[in-house]
């Protein structure tokens, strides 16, 4: 919609609205011709106050969009981007691929295709692969038994995590977790009450606080681990290459 301005008739003094670009018009009251003097000031463009940055998962193009938007399309590859936030209650198996946040409410049971979101909070039972762009938080009552993958994983007290594979940057553990393999490119912190039982642990920095426990078949603390190149289903590209070879 074009911007409008108020024009006053010099003959009958009545006011009417005209487009900004108009140079003359006819008065709606007296019908006389009115020349319009153009103002030098240009109308100020509307700039949305709250914006968020979204990176397209298909092509990696980054765009700024309005924070309240429910969906958008990538300007580069035209992919549809769902920006809605979901809260799962009761039993569900719906497909969840969004750029918003996903919350699995206490008591819920989700068994379906891989979940992909920005931030995932789990307080119910989830039997699906979970991949988050920012973080995964498993709260009290949360139960997970499939691979999870996010830069930050926080496992709170009272949750149950038994996953075959866990790849992350930062892992904070305050509950019991059993896994075959853990790779944390930055750090692992085991808080009091937390225990990690794993076949293989690889990280750059580890801290097991008093009251925490670690039982690792093989613990490897090494200087900076190269960043993992994740593909879908939580399997790193290097593993895929090995499998192909």
């Amino acid at each position: 919609m074009s911007e409008k301005r108020t024009v006053t008739c010099p003959y009958c003094k009545s006011e009417q609205e005209e487009p900004f670009a108009a140079i003359s018009t006819y008065c709606h009251t007296c019908g006389r011709h009115i020349p319009i003097q153009r103002s030098r000031r240009r109308p100020v463009a509307m700039v949305p106050q709250n914006t968020r940055v979204v990176e397209c998962r298909e092509c990696g193009y980054t765009d700024k969009i309005v924070a309240d938007a429910q969906s958008t399309q990538c300007e580069n590859c035209s992919a549809y981007l769902d920006l809605r936030c979901y809260t799962i209650r009761g039993k569900s198996n719906q497909k969840i691929v969004t750029y918003g946040d996903v919350t699995f409410a206490p008591g819920c049971s989700y068994e379906g295709p891989p979940v992909r979101a920005s931030k995932v909070t789990v307080a119910g039972r989830v039997s699906a692969l979970i991949k988050a762009d920012s973080s995964i938080e498993i709260l009290e009552g949360g139960r997970i038994n499939n691979p999870i993958d996010a830069p930050i994983i926080k496992i709170c007290r009272g949750s149950e995590v038994r996953v075959p594979l866990l790849r992350t940057r930062n892992l904070e553990l305050a509950s019991q977790m059993r896994t075959d393999e853990v790779t944390a490119t930055d750090q692992i912190i085991i808080l009091p009450g937390g225990s990690l039982i794993a076949g293989r642990v690889k990280t750059r920095f580890i801290e097991v606080q008093e009251g925490g426990a670690l039982l690792a078949g093989f613990l490897e603390v090494v200087p900076p681990i190269p960043p993992l190149d994740f593909t879908d289903h939580g399997i790193a590209k290097e593993d895929q290459d090995e499998a192909i070879a």
Binding site: R157, G158, Q176, Q187, I190, S195, I197, V201, R204, F205, I206, E207, V208, Q209, E210, G211, G212, A213, L214, L215, A216, G217, F218, L219, E220, V221, V222, P223
Partner: protein, 95 residues
């Protein structure tokens, strides 16, 4: 008046290169190279940056600084067995 003695801290300086089994009665701080068959400490094990440790590790708490290296099996703290955990859960001692 002090009733309990503060646990002694064993310290391996950067110029030390040790090999074999290593047992510390209290805390253990490593700055050098320790290629142990078994590394045990009753208290805390701190592996400082630039330190290199390998072998079977057993201690109460562990802290490996960024830059420090460790490789080998590790048992830190008291890991409850599955049976003990179930028993504890039944009694309401473990959540």
């Amino acid at each position: 008046m002090r009733f309990f003695k503060k646990p002694a801290t064993c310290y391996l300086s950067p110029n030390v290169q040790a090999k074999g089994t290593f047992t510390a009665p209290g805390n253990l701080e490593i700055d050098g190279v320790l290629k142990g068959e078994r590394v045990e400490a009753k208290g805390k094990v701190i592996i400082h940056a630039k330190a290199q440790v390998s072998g079977k590790l057993k201690c109460a708490t562990l802290y490996v600084e960024p830059g420090g290296q460790f490789s080998g099996p590790a048992t830190v703290g008291s890991v409850p067995s599955e049976t003990l955990r179930r028993f504890g859960k039944a009694l309401g001692l473990i959540k």
